[in-house]
Structures are given as C-alpha cells and as structure tokens.
Symmetry: C2
Amino acid sequence: MTRLRANQGAGLTMAEVAAQAGVSRQAVYLHFADRTALLMALVHHVDEARGLAAKLSAIARAPSARAAVAAMVALQASDNPGLWPVAQIFDSLRQSDASVDAVWQNRLTHWRDTCHAVAERFQEEGALAPHLSLDPAADLLSTLTSPRLWEELVIGRGWSAERYRSHVTYLAVGALTH
Amino acid sequence: MTRLRANQGAGLTMAEVAAQAGVSRQAVYLHFADRTALLMALVHHVDEARGLAAKLSAIARAPSARAAVAAMVALQASDNPGLWPVAQIFDSLRQSDASVDAVWQNRLTHWRDTCHAVAERFQEEGALAPHLSLDPAADLLSTLTSPRLWEELVIGRGWSAERYRSHVTYLAVGALTH
DNA sequence: AAGTTACTTTACACTATGTCAAGTCCCAGT
DNA sequence: ACTGGGACTTGACATAGTGTAAAGTAACTT
C-alpha cells in the first residue's frame, strides 16, 4: 500500500486521498472499509510514527511531578504542529460519526490516565493544592495540556512553541499546587 | 419568518431546518442565501435573545478585576449549556467554510478584547503577575474562559456548573496574578 | 381588481460516499 | 507452462445533501 499524506485538513475526500496516493478511488475501499476506518488507521499510523508510547513512558519516568508536567507540555509543543491537521479532521467528524468519536474518546482517556498518574505524584510529594482532590486535579491537568488549548494559543494567538511551553508549564504547575 | 430551533447539533440539514420550521425546504432559501447565512443569522439571533451585550457591559462594570474574571467565568457557566450545540456546528463548519470562520473569529476577537480590558484592570490594580505582559495575559484569560475549556470540563468530564465556576475562576485569577 | 409577498411543488445539476461487476496485470506455486 | 489469486483498473450505479430554477397558489395590501 502506498503511503498516505495528510492534506490541509479541510475537505479530505476519498477521491483526494486516492489521487494523493496515486491510486484509483475504488482502490482505497479495498484497503479501508470506509472513510472512518481510513481516519482511524491514519491516527494509529501517526501515533506509531511519532513513537507516542515511548514519549508517554518518558513522562511516567520523570524525576518529579513538576518535571512530568513540563514533559507533558513539551510533548504537546513538539508534536501538535504535525498532529494538528489530523486532529482537526477528527474533531469535526466526531460529531457525525460514532466510531470516530470512540477512537477520540479512547485517546482522551489515555491522556487523562497519564494526567491522573501525575496528579498522584503531586499528592505523594505533598505538593497538591489543598482544595484539589485527585480527579479534579487530573481533569484540570488534562484540559490545560489538551491539543485544543495548544491550538488556541499557538495557532489562534500566534504564540511561539517556547512561549507556549513556558507559560503553560507554569500555569499547569501553579494550578495543581496552589 | 417562523422561529428556528437548534437540533442536536450533529447533522443539521436544510431539510431538517425546514421541517422543524414547518416549511418547505425551498422556503428556507427565500430567507437565507445558503447554509452559511442561516448559521450566521442563528448565532446572531441567539446572542440577541440572551442579551449578550448587556452581560458583557456588566463585566466591564465589575467592581474589581477579580470580580470581572468571576463574572466572565459565570457567564460561560450559565450561557454555554444553551450555546454549545450551535457552537459545535460552527466549530466544525469553520474548517470548510471561510465565512463561518470569519464570524467565528469575530466573536473570538470580541471576547479577547474583553479579556484585554480585564488584564489592564489587573495591571492598574498592581495585581498582574510580574512575568506577564498585557497581551499574553489577555490570551491566557481568553483561553481559560473559552467555550472549549468549558466543554472539556463540563461536557467531557462531567463537572457541575458550580464546580466549573469555582475552579476555573480560581485558576484564571491565579494565572493572572501569580 | 391588481399586484406583492410568502410560500408551494416539481425538477434539475452537482458533489461526495459507498457498492457492484467485469476486466487487466503480474507474480507464485505446482 | 498453466493456473490462481492479489492488487488494481474502469465504469456504472444508488443515495444523500446542497443549491438553483420555474411555475403555481393563497392571502394581504392598496
């Protein structure tokens, strides 16, 4: 199978995908049951290509809770520029396609679990803000480190990766510790 | 013209809109040039119906910067449940329709201006965090009070309006002052 | 009575998704 | 060398949604 390239993210049609892959429109349906299956395969592929699993385990092995947050934000800052076009398509398809939504939710859940583990480390270090319990802390952390917040600041407001990294790290650490 | 009702937000088709309005599909095109125009009118209508302008001026008249932030977060908490279905449609159409995007950007800009004014009040009160200048502060505030962040916590994580209100107010004030 | 307005029904063109069927090309196994 | 299967092709078709066009109707206005 020929390698796929993500287009600008807007109107990704099956015909376009086929053309980009240098193949007939029908050939695409020989590999993927439908558009949804294609998108799911794309996300899976992108994750593998970026070694997401390794990066997540690096977060788990960070020397401190603060360092873990810094690593999480840094991961967003480095990966989102390439991931964002795909995420765009997903986020819009999610509403009309239950299986896309399922994949999306699965990814979110995974990220939230990582956040929960980090919140636990704050608690173990006695640094968790007194007004926060674990679940709300994990929710806040996952929201502050979400691709959407990255998008709003970097794409929407033109922040540099470095400005995003430093401000959001500071913000997230502050949110969990004060 | 018969009153429109927003549907579940997913596949809002012109035929559905017409049916809900008790009118033929073609009649819709007598009032709105196309789907985009209909959506833009819908947003405008919803804004008016909710008295958005009045609420924004109330934020401007808040007794302190902190109170203004509290009012902004409270506005999100109270209005978003009704606004969200419309926002959903907009957010997904934005990618494929430049004029929807224009309306969307316009709204964002307006909100950002409000945030900028609040950031200035923090500065006047001498409460703005030393590492923040006005623009980044306004960007952070607008991001933390965005419908998306509300959605992630309230819709995505099941937070109550009250939990959202108190945590996010605390978070936003903290982000701007420490 | 005549015209305007707000619709109606019917029909069409266009685009995208997904299905179906028949045929081509090439490569591997026997 | 023959045969079968895999990967692809072209072409046709059904379906759903958007948007345009045309002709007709019913009610309200002047």
